[in-house]
Symmetry: C2
Amino acid sequence: ARTHRIAVIPGDGIGKETTPEGLRVLDAAARRFGFELKLTEYDWSCETYLKTGKMMPDDGLDQLKDSDSVFLGAVGWPGVPDHTSLWGLLIPIRRGFDQYVSLRPCKLLPGVKTPLANREPHEIDFYVVRENTEGEYSSVGGRMFPGTDREFVSQQSILTRTGTDRIIKYAFELAMTRPRKKVTSATKSNGITFTMPYWDERFAEMAKNYPEVTTDQFHIDILCAHFVQHPDWFDVVVGSNLFGDILSDLGPAVAGSIGVAASANINPEKAFPSMFEPVHGSAPDIAGKWIANPIGQIWSGAMMLEHLGEAQAARAITDSIEKLLAEGGPRTRDLGGQAGTVDVGKAIAEAV
Amino acid sequence: ARTHRIAVIPGDGIGKETTPEGLRVLDAAARRFGFELKLTEYDWSCETYLKTGKMMPDDGLDQLKDSDSVFLGAVGWPGVPDHTSLWGLLIPIRRGFDQYVSLRPCKLLPGVKTPLANREPHEIDFYVVRENTEGEYSSVGGRMFPGTDREFVSQQSILTRTGTDRIIKYAFELAMTRPRKKVTSATKSNGITFTMPYWDERFAEMAKNYPEVTTDQFHIDILCAHFVQHPDWFDVVVGSNLFGDILSDLGPAVAGSIGVAASANINPEKAFPSMFEPVHGSAPDIAGKWIANPIGQIWSGAMMLEHLGEAQAARAITDSIEKLLAEGGPRTRDLGGQAGTVDVGKAIAEAV
Ligand SMILES: CC(C)[C@H](C(=O)O)[C@@H](O)C(=O)O
Ligand SMILES: CC(C)[C@H](C(=O)O)[C@@H](O)C(=O)O
């Protein structure tokens, strides 16, 4: 049987509650479609940090690097500053494994209520492709004249040709697999005048290679407005690290619930393992109550199977999610129901 | 009679169509409330640029500096790159006159359809306070290794103590004048780890001076999602130049129409003239058809009168706008009507 080695990092908060449900569904898919998942679980988290002073061991990436994929819950907990938790675990994996594509589907699922008026499921169905290694999230910066009136901080945003071209190319390749074949570029070249005009230049250059693909571009401010007013305009939207981050929270929000949103951190060349995680965070406010929506996690599992070449199994999972929602199966509070995390996981696993 | 000297810059595209309507309403207000407006019109625009090679004369700021306010339409036209048009006119005025507050009301007006489901006018009523001189829109950056595979561009985001403190303070002062007394800070300190933690630090410091004000903060990604899902949460939202820019387009979008959105670029100390302009741009796609919505421009005029100490007149204008919309008066296409720019301007002027 085909075997896939999966490193599992439940992390913090509701990550510990949604990850088991993700695994439950993956397990059901493996049994049905005849492959094996070899799981190795890692307890790396803020809890570990509070005991050991490290979010992950020094050789953390080494421990993960022979797995085929990483399946992550959520990272972050009150009392541990974000720059410790996220920059000690999540970001080093994204960057260390050169997972330069963050891919996030934004899809209005049947049976899910969108905050928008009069929108039908087929009208919201697009991908946000986010650059995941450079841009505005840089490690170049500092503070001058601390504690004085002249104090200032500065941080560079950096776009390399390699980093920019490969993410834009990924977006075009993705568009080529979709019926509408359209790519929208998120820019802000009218205000951010060194980096963003370069983004536009590389986008225009790449577009030349894809004459079949329709393109457009919007400044990030009006693009966010369009997400709300015309979500039906979009097919594949590509943006820098920060712009992609913003759009991939806003997209799921207009599509109804961040609790169902999935994401993939991909190294397309498979030189390193890719990582799959829900868009939501560790949600300290509802952690421990077992009411978190596991669908984002489960859907991330489907994206993982797709990446591992198990397209049929991936499809079975997303179909089961859609069926459960459309047919009024158990749903968590964020979707207007009363079900617990485990109920939803079990129902989807059964359907698979 | 009290006299206010106004520099009028219609600029490009629909700016040329909405500015006269703004002036029509201002004139009506002046007659009713007994003050005088001394107008000086400047034809600075992309058209001027194409003739003279300059968006404004070298001594442009000098020409404006003795006016009490600048009343601007819109800047930008296809064929003239944004970095020429905006950075040759709009941005130099904002910065040269140290208009460090960009203030943008987001209000669902009665009779305006929001794209959100089931939202009533009183549920969306907040201000975005945007830092308007530094941050992500910096002039420090460049390109290295041009034309090679090693090519990269970089741009610094810079937050000074002066710049950060004064904008946050303005937000708190504004909140103190409002019944809810709440300030929300837009951050991204979990990803942008040099500048944004500093923003958080200064926000927390300033909050200590305003024990009556409730505060919260969200990362910009989830904050954008909350604008869509919970616009009723917000009272005064303060953000950096880029974050404020994004939120002040998204806010008006959830409140129904960017065509009605107004903005003020303020130097609170009145050391220099402030500038008032609609949020929308020059809209080349509808320019020349006289169908643009003039309400954003007219409302900006009301903000200008407020700043000039004519609070009663300002109130008369905003009341007239609300009445026109609530009572089904003439409306432009973006609001589902068939009226032209001039019809709407005349109706509001009459009501005033
Ligand atoms: C035109 C552009 C530079 C400007 C900005 O981003 O400041 C505009 O979007 C605005 O919000 O006034
Ligand atoms: C936690 C944070 C650093 C992260 C990001 O901005 O990348 C998160 O918002 C995400 O989108 O995965």
